[in-house]
Each structure stands twice: as C-alpha cells, then as structure tokens.
C-alpha cells in the first residue's frame, strides 16, 4: 500500500505531541532540547507532506523546511552555550537544581 497524506500527518502529529510531552515531563536540559527538535521535525514533515500531496506546484513548504532546519541549528547553538554556562555555575544540568528564582 502506498502511504498517503493521512499516514504522514498521523506520524507528524504523534511526533509533535511526543515532543510536547517530553518537554513537560523531562528534567534534563539536553533532553528538553531534544524534545524541541522533535517538535520542529514534526513541523518539517507536515510541510513536506502538504507540499507533496496537496500543493505540488507551490514550493513554499519545501523552502520553509530548509529555513527551519537552519534556524533550529542556530537555536540549539545558543541554547547549548547557555546550558554550558549553567553547568559551570550550578554543576548540574538538571532543571530542578536551577531554583534560585521562585515566585
């Protein structure tokens, strides 16, 4: 059977919500970044699927995907720099250990 639009949309929606679930439940900062990557990749899948199946003539979706990949890398670079600095001051990359600021 050929995979259709709905199969891909199902996978991408599942990926999105796995990412959201991971973002809310995990406590390790690197894992949080991985969850965000999952969310962004689900969006990429969405764009490619829509472009291929629904709007084959309009390449907006494809270009959008390329830009998302590049920007995700930039975001991860800044985030990892911040996490390294956090590790230097807190000796940990667990969210629960960063608790100076409350209420």
């Amino acid at each position: 059977m050929q995979p259709g639009l709905y199969h891909i949309l199902f996978i991408s929606a599942a990926l999105f919500f796995i990412g959201v679930y991971g973002f809310f439940t995990r406590r390790n900062l690197i894992t949080l970044l991985m969850s965000i990557e999952l969310i962004l990749n689900s969006v990429n899948l969405n764009f490619i699927a829509f472009n291929k199946y629904l709007w084959p003539g309009r390449m907006d979706g494809l270009f959008f995907t390329l830009f998302i990949i590049a920007i995700a890398a930039a975001e991860a670079a800044v985030a990892i720099a911040i996490i390294i600095n956090l590790y230097r001051s807190h000796q940990s990359i667990d969210v629960n250990d960063a608790e100076e600021l409350k209420y």
């Binding site: 969310i39 969006v43 969405n46 829509f50 907006d60 959008f64 830009f67 998302i68 230097r88 807190h90």
Partner: protein
Amino acid sequence: MNDLFILMKAEMAVTAIIFLLLFIKVGKGMKNEALLPLIQTLLLVNFIAGFFFNKPGHLFGDMYHTEQGTVLLKNILSLAVYLISLVCAGWLKRTPHLAEFFLLMLSALLGMFLMISSGNLLIFYLALELSSIPVAAMANFDLDKKRSSEGAMKMILSSAFSSGILLFGISLIYGTTGTINFASLPAQLDGSALQVLAFIFLFAAFAFKLSVVPFHLWTADVYEGSPIATTSFLSVVSKGAIAFVLLIVLYHVFRPMYETWIILLMGLSIITMVVGNLFAMRQQNIKRFLAYSSIAQVGFILAAMINGGPAGFAAVAYFILVYTFSNLAAFGVAAVIASQTGKENVDDYKGLYQTNPFLTWIMALALFSLAGIPPTAGFFGKLFLLTAAGEEAAYWFITIAALNMIISLYYYLRVVRAMFIDKNENPLPPVKTGPAEKLGLIICGAGIVLAGMLSWVYDYIYQMIK
C-alpha cells in the same frame, strides 16, 4: 535598486551600526568610556533619521512592505532602544563586553523591524527568531551570576518551545490554504475546524512572547535574573514589537476569523489583568514587581485589540509609546540604584525621598503613569485603550478592566508610600546619577507629562496609522 535602499532604510541603518560595532570589536577595540557615548550618538541619529525620506512600497515579491504606519512603529522602537542606552548607562559602562551587548541588542531590533514589515509567514518566522534568540544571549550577560544563567535558560527554552508551536500552526495554515502570503491568505481562510486549530496554535505562540497569562510563567524569572538593561529591553521593546505584529496579523491576515479571535482576546485579557495584578501585590523585588505589572498592562493592550479598526491600532501604538517612557523611567531609577548600591527590594526604597529627591520624583511619576492617574500620559493611554475596546465589547467587560485599574493602584502606590512616607532610620545613601542617566530620566519624565498634555501626539499617531 534605489528603491531597495530607500524602502529598507530603517533596516539598513541598524545593519550599518551593527557592522560598525563589529569592526570596532575585531579591530583595535575601544574603552567603554569612549564607546558608550559613540553608540548613544549613533542610536540618536538612527532615531531622528527615521522620520525622513520615508516612502511606502513593496519589495521582493510582497515579502517586505513598508508604509507610514510601520515607519511610525519602527520609530517608537528606535526611541526605546536609544532611551535604554541612556538610562542603563551605569550597568553598561561596567560590563566588559559592551560592543557585543549592543551587537545582540541591535540584531534583535533588526529582527523586530523586519517582523513589523514582513508580508509573508516565512519572513515573519525568520524575523521572529532573529528578534528572540539574541535576547536569550543578552539575558545571560552577567556570566558569573547563577540567577542570570538560570533566567537565560528559561528564556531560551520557552522561546524555542513557543516557536515550535508557532511553526505547527503555520504548517497547518499552509496545508489548508496553500499559501503563506499575508496578502492572499485572508481570501483563503474559511473558518474550518483545522484553521481554527491552526489559529489557536499561532495565537498561543504570540501569547508566550507577550506573556499573556496562561503562558506567563517564564516572565518574572527571566526579568529578575537578567541584567537590568536586558530586562528593560525585554519589557519595553520586545513586548512592543510583538504587540504591533500581533495587531498586524490579527487585523490584516486573520480578519475573516474576527468572531473567533474576539472571544479569545476577551477571555485572555480578563485573566491576564486579574492574575498580573494579584501577583504584583506580593512582590518584594522591584524587577519582579515591574514584571508582573507589565503582565497586567498587556491585559489592557489585548482589550484594545478587540476594536478591529484604526482606533484600536492607534490606541495600542500610543499606549506603547507612553508605556516606553514610564517603564523605562521606572527601570532607569531601579538601574541607577542597583548599579551603585546593589539594592533591588521595595523595602530598601523606604525613605528614599530624604536622600535622593530627584530619583524619587521620577520613580513616582513613572508609577503614577503606569497606574493611570490623570495628569500623566498613562491615564490617556488607558483611556484610549478602554474607549477603543468599548466600541466593540460589552460594558461588563470595560467595567472589569476599570476595576482592575483600581486594584493596580494599591501596589503602585505601595512603592510610592515606601519612598515618600515610610520612616527609615538609615535610608540608602545619596546615589550619584551620571549625565547620560540624568538625560535619559529627564526625557522619560518629560515624555510622561507631555505625551498626555499635547493632544497632537495622539492625533499624529492616528493620522499615520489611518
């Protein structure tokens, strides 16, 4: 080709300053004492140049467009950045990486300019990231402080998560309409369930960036942890730019879904005002206090957006201008005091009037304006916001908003009371205010008084936006 330089003038100017700073940094470098006045002068020139040689038009196949209204919004943001460079001079002079700080701040400003001018969801997304990633790096500028790195961590995670949500919404919009152009989107929107879902995702991302209530949890922590120049940038420039873009997107792109977003706006506006006010009451740290007060102000901005016409747009632009003056005056006083004594709590301000009358008066003026007490511009700002809301919304809604203004008086006046009336055996010693800081605070104070007294300010904004 000539058109390119005239139409993108604001962006080009900011880019030129960024490159100049970059060359200074990689070249010989300059001492902070010499570099800071240079940057301040450049930012002033940038602000004044914003008023001349403006022309409406489109570029790059409708991806970039500029008109009178967008130029006005950019000028407000340029003014805010110039004022930040003045009022936070004390902290800026001492930071070892002054050039980098302004590189990041101006990159974020460039992103905001592009975001306001964008005519396409792709450019909009790129500009949004350009305006939010550097701010996270700015939040981490006190490298050896635990609080600063924790605030930056919360900032980058929440902004990355919110842009993920935004992208999911955009992908669904692309799937249902087949276009990402602002100009051709409204005709394709039919209000189907999937489009409403996509709109809610998009709106949630905006709410994250604007710190509307269910999504506000990062705000207070980031504001408290960041250095004070970053905090004032976040609370004034970032917030103003996102509010403008939300207005443009709602009014021009999602116009056909008016019935959907008016309900969202009303509900979120009420929750935001109430929760922001209630949390502001119990804050001790002055930055945290201003964070919650700015959340409450966002509730009023959302209320005015309910009016779908130019009156709502002009009211929000005017309010952001007034809010720039009053919030920067408050942050400026807090910055001057914190940079010399290290004190940031409301209790430390007790009896401040005995030793620092100038700072106390500016702070009191700013707080009166934020609370919306008549002779100051803050009153007229709130008046226009609620009038704009009243044209569309029911009276019970306006009543709740007005009641919230009364609640907010309690916590603003608490600080004023601490400064003027409360007795304190040993108040803070007299604080030296540098010339740049004094100039910035005087401009802010004059703005708070004059923007309300001079009626042509609002008329000018209304004319530009119409």
